[in-house]
């Protein structure tokens, strides 16, 4: 899709013919993807289709085997400095929250600021509280993660990513581990971020979110990008047979 090329000349994320293998299994096949500043991308597809692997390659939690991945002009190679530089630009929110259980909520938000950004402690705490306000749970700052509900933990995880002031945030099935009544509080935070112009790549099955927030919906199957389109087009008029089957399955009830 080149409808977004007018917003910026250079894509923040550029993937060129990316392949990824786990042993003999090919998880990603010739992935070409460009994401521009401020774009919100939703990736969906059946389980095992490579969606998580794709976004995990963007911040090098997985190493791609060939092709090029260029994040804000920095190509991901084995060079540790480049990987560090990319990770400073890219935040990530995980399905299982992955808050540090032995640190208070505030400390979870401060630790990387202090170690990676070298932010002084008081300033780091100030920034932490700012983002806790933003996800509407400042009163939990001095509790441990286990004392919070799943929805609250995931909001903390989003705030933790925001504290690093990333250019891009990756969401890897952020609501899949949540009880149904907590999904909306997390989606609300994500919608809020989207309105603020954050560049977001979300692997999710929340089709309501995709329809209302995404600039583009990407459908993956068997390691390939099968189809990508604007949400209205994607949901109402899918072209590919596999997309139709998938949408029927998840929208039928």
């Amino acid at each position: 899709m080149d409808s977004m090329t007018d917003t910026e000349t250079r894509p923040l994320i550029k993937m060129i013919k990316v392949n990824k293998f786990f042993g003999p299994f090919q998880a990603l096949k010739n992935i070409d993807l460009e994401v521009y500043k401020g774009e919100k991308i939703v990736i969906c597809g059946p389980s095992g289709s490579g969606k998580s692997t794709l976004i995990r390659c963007i911040n090098r939690l997985e190493e791609h085997n060939d092709g090029n991945i260029i994040i804000d002009g920095i190509e991901l190679t084995d060079k540790v400095e480049d990987i560090d530089a990319v990770r400073r630009e890219v935040g990530m929110v995980f399905q299982s929250f992955n808050l540090f259980p032995h640190m208070t909520i505030a400390k979870n938000l401060m630790i990387a600021q202090q170690l990676v950004r070298k932010t002084p402690k008081a300033k780091a705490r100030e920034i932490a509280m700012l983002y806790l306000e933003r996800v509407k749970i400042p009163e939990q700052a001095d509790k441990y993660p286990i004392q919070l509900s799943g929805g609250q933990q995931q909001r903390v995880a989003i705030a933790r990513a925001l504290c690093m002031r990333p250019e891009i945030i990756l969401f890897d099935e952020p609501t899949s581990a949540l009880d149904p009544e907590m999904i909306n509080e997390v989606l609300d935070v994500m919608i809020d971020l989207a309105r603020d112009g954050m560049t977001m790549v979300c692997v999710t099955h929340e089709m309501g979110f995709a329809r209302s927030v995404a600039d583009r919906v990407i459908f993956m199957d068997a390691g390939e990008i099968v189809e990508q389109a604007e949400p209205a087009e994607f949901f109402d008029n899918p072209e590919n047979e596999r997309t139709k089957v998938f949408l029927n399955q998840i929208l039928s009830h």
Binding site: R60, R87, N98, F100, L115, I146, M164
Partner: protein, 231 residues
């Protein structure tokens, strides 16, 4: 058969005179063994075969042989070598206590390193990925994520090893050391009352063990404070 209670009362204070030696053996080899264990652990998880393999070989040797045999080899065997007698270690190895501490340290270090490795392997991978995603270096992740969590996970097994080490210190009595067991054996040789003496000795060790259990219980509750919802 008769059971002479007054003999127990008389011999207890004598045996307690050996507490100092027993505690010294426990604390010094426990401390040095922990340092050795951390060094071995770092070698094992370094991902470099030239560090991993020697550590594995070391652990295999010291877990694969009885500690009593290790004590004998160090105490009776090493002084036969002139190189040992000329080395800077001789002022340690010429003393039975030094030999016992060296043997206990080398032995417990092998076991504890594997206990710690179990703790490191128990740390949720997702937490390390979260650290990576936040830009933390391998060193930062090890210090701030792996170490505190692995410490908590290792503690129950580690306390087991410390209690085991307390009992192993009794083996020092076989190389002339007058720890509690050494003194007990001397009293038995004088009084021909093994039953009373060894039972009171056993009770003293149990009291010590109880103290260690309580101590580790406190540490465990402290390190586990973040695992309870009621905080």
């Amino acid at each position: 058969m008769s059971f002479d209670l007054s003999l127990i009362l008389e011999s207890l204070p004598l045996m307690l005179a050996g507490i100092g030696i027993t505690l010294k053996l426990l604390l010094v080899s426990g401390f040095l063994g922990l340092i050795l264990a951390v060094a071995l652990l770092l070698m094992r998880i370094s991902g470099k075969f030239y560090l991993d393999w020697p550590a594995q070989a070391y652990i295999y040797v010291f877990r694969g042989t009885p500690i009593l045999v290790q004590i004998f080899i160090i105490y009776y065997g090493l002084p036969q070598f002139e190189a040992v007698r000329d080395s800077i270690f001789w002022h340690i190895l010429r003393e039975p206590t030094g030999c016992a501490i060296v043997a206990l340290t080398l032995n417990t270090g092998a076991y504890v390193s594997e206990i710690l490795r179990g703790g490191v392997l128990g740390v949720d991978r997702g937490l390390l990925e979260a650290g990576s995603a936040l830009g933390m270096s391998a060193r930062h992740k090890f210090v701030y994520i792996t170490t505190p969590i692995a410490t908590r996970l290792s503690l129950p097994a580690y306390s087991n090893d410390v209690i085991s080490l307390l009992k192993s210190t009794a083996l020092a009595s076989t190389i002339t050391i007058a720890d509690m067991t050494g003194i007990a054996r001397t009293i038995v040789a004088d009084t021909y009352a093994p039953y009373e003496i060894f039972i009171s000795l056993a009770i003293v060790y149990m009291i010590f063990t109880l103290g260690l259990q309580k101590l580790f219980g406190v540490i465990e509750r402290y390190l586990g404070r973040y695992t309870r919802r009621d905080g």
